[in-house]
Amino acid sequence: MFDISRRSLLAGAAAAAGTSLLPSGAFAAEELVAATFGGTWANVHKQILAPYFTKKTGATVAQSPMLATAQIAKLTAAKGGPAPFDVAMLDEGPALEAIDAGVIAKYDASKSPNFASLNKKFQGEYGPAITMQAIGIAYNPKTVKAPPTSWADLWKPEYKGRVGITSLASTLGLAFLLDINRLEGGTEASMEPAFKKLKTLLPNLAAVSANFGAHGALFQQGEVDIGVQNFKFAEELKAKGVPIEFVRVSTGTPGWKTTMHVVNGAVKPDLAYAYIDSQLSAEVQSAMQKSPWNVIPTNSKVPYEGLVASKIAKTPADLDKMVFFDWQKVNKGRADWTAQFNREIRV
């Protein structure tokens, strides 16, 4: 019995190794490999963007969910050879790092007709912004009776051991820390005020999730009752039936751009442009704005509707009122802040 199961295990392992060695869809005529974020982004890209792209180009797309930082690491490791994927999807901070590392290419607007429909501030030199991310507080309405209105609510004594934040590995965690710092009078050049304030939050913390994916699960499993969260992600959880409410904080909603890029050394650059252009189209963006996705559109032909309009912005001018950070400076400080964050939150 042991022998048999060991043999079947080995056979299983061999089969698994075999399939992973085959390039997926090696026999399809044309296939683009595009990076996406995990979770909700992978779903919305699979359900809306991929079919639209295939209808338009006849090619298929393999969407590989990866953290922004993992994308940069893989592209850096493959530098000089063919890129492991042709389209990168990044947040503002990592995008600057990718430019710095020389792994993404300048965006040729002439190859992307929809690029012109974007608001000027979304027309990045190295690739367009496909959405804005907005953060605030998410809470469990069953256990948190008074809806929170500002970050200060996370410090309330009644939430002792009930608050969830994420590490600086996610832009969510970084943006939260940066905003606390701003409110405490600091700047991107001096984060001391944020760390001082963070120390006083420690008794209230139930968890500091290691990454954004683990963070969502905390709310789902009742591990935390209140904490920082991404607008789009909280609304998707709510649509799934999780008891969660998202509110903006009164001091201004911190936000950042999420961008798409053709990578340097792309194997199929034309398909990569077609894919990104599909993401910029009014059809795709208005479909993605609907619940449960609530992706904030960047194409100026798509009016804000639904939860995006009621909770984040009714007009493009509302987006300008969001709180933005200097990601160039953030990238400079991030290594030191990560070390300090490790030190201060360590049990």
Partner: protein
């Protein structure tokens, strides 16, 4: 005769494919890693130096994290041994059919993905999880216990997840012990415990040491379990390497941390191997 000799001397060639595989996919990347760790600059400009190592050793936090990680492995490995030994002993003694069933149960955890197993543990250990619901319902504690995001939780999960690595070598060794030895010991008047400590335990030492080495190395490097069950407030070496390599794209420092971690684990494994040699020398002269 001469043909047989020739055959024998050519047998080493059988190891060539594996050797080649190891050289290309293990030895070469390892040397690359060591090489990168001597790059002085984050951007790997080519300037060499010991900067990364002095940075690692210069910060007490790093050394504390290293110590925590090595200690975490000791705790989980000891628990694996304490729970795994009786299990292996039982498996070595039951009927062939029951043995097959028990071994199947032991290897079952390896068949599922470590991520799935770890998520299942989040459901069990969580504040609103099965375990805490039971504790509160039974009135053993008025409030849920803090198991998730605690080292206790990490140790519990590692013990379950890595158990097969301890049990399988133990079963192999225990099965090979001649049962007549125990019978002889008892016939000569030794109690069951005395027989165990004087006969079974020393003879099973090679299995214990093999199991301990496998379990220990797996526990200290268990990135998924450590980060998902431990959260960010418990920092262990694998997470620290990930932070440096991925979040901060500081490959030279990540490489130096990896090398330091590898050396520390190798020292411990080396001590265990030395221990097993001396035991073997004692037993078999």
């Amino acid at each position: 005769m001469a043909g047989a000799m020739e055959k024998k001397s050519n047998e080493w060639r059988l190891a060539l494919p594996l050797t080649l595989f190891f050289v290309v996919f293990f030895v070469a990347p390892l040397f690359l890693l060591i090489g990168i760790s001597f790059q002085a600059e984050r951007r790997m400009t080519g300037a060499l130096g010991l900067n990364q190592y002095t940075a690692f050793l210069g910060d007490r936090l790093n050394l504390e994290v290293l110590g925590d990680t090595l200690l975490l492995g000791v705790k989980a490995t000891l628990l694996c041994l304490i729970f795994g030994y009786p299990l292996a002993w039982l498996i070595a003694r039951v009927s062939a059919r029951l043995q097959a069933l028990l071994i199947f149960l032991v290897i079952l955890p390896i068949v599922t993905s470590v991520v799935v197993r770890t998520f299942a543990w989040i459901v069990i250990l969580g504040r609103r999880g099965i375990f805490n619901d039971a504790i509160v319902a039974l009135g053993l504690s008025p409030t849920p216990l803090h198991l998730l995001f605690s080292e206790t939780g990490v140790v519990i999960v590692l013990t379950q997840v890595q158990m097969p690595l301890m049990v399988l070598p133990l079963v192999t060794v225990l099965q090979r012990i001649d049962p007549n030895l125990a019978s002889a010991s008892q016939a000569l008047g030794a109690s069951a415990w005395r027989t165990f400590f004087k006969i079974t335990l020393p003879l099973s030492m090679p299995g214990i040491i093999a199991g301990v080495i496998l379990t220990y190395t797996a526990c200290v490097t268990a990135f998924v379990t450590q980060s998902l069950i431990g959260g960010s407030r418990l920092l262990y070496m694998p997470m620290m390497i990930f932070q440096q390599a991925m979040d901060l794209q500081n490959w030279p420092f990540a490489a130096a941390v990896s090398v330091m971690f590898m050396i520390s684990v190798l020292v411990i494994v080396g001590l265990l191997v030395a221990l097993s040699r001396s035991r073997a020398a004692q037993l078999y002269g």
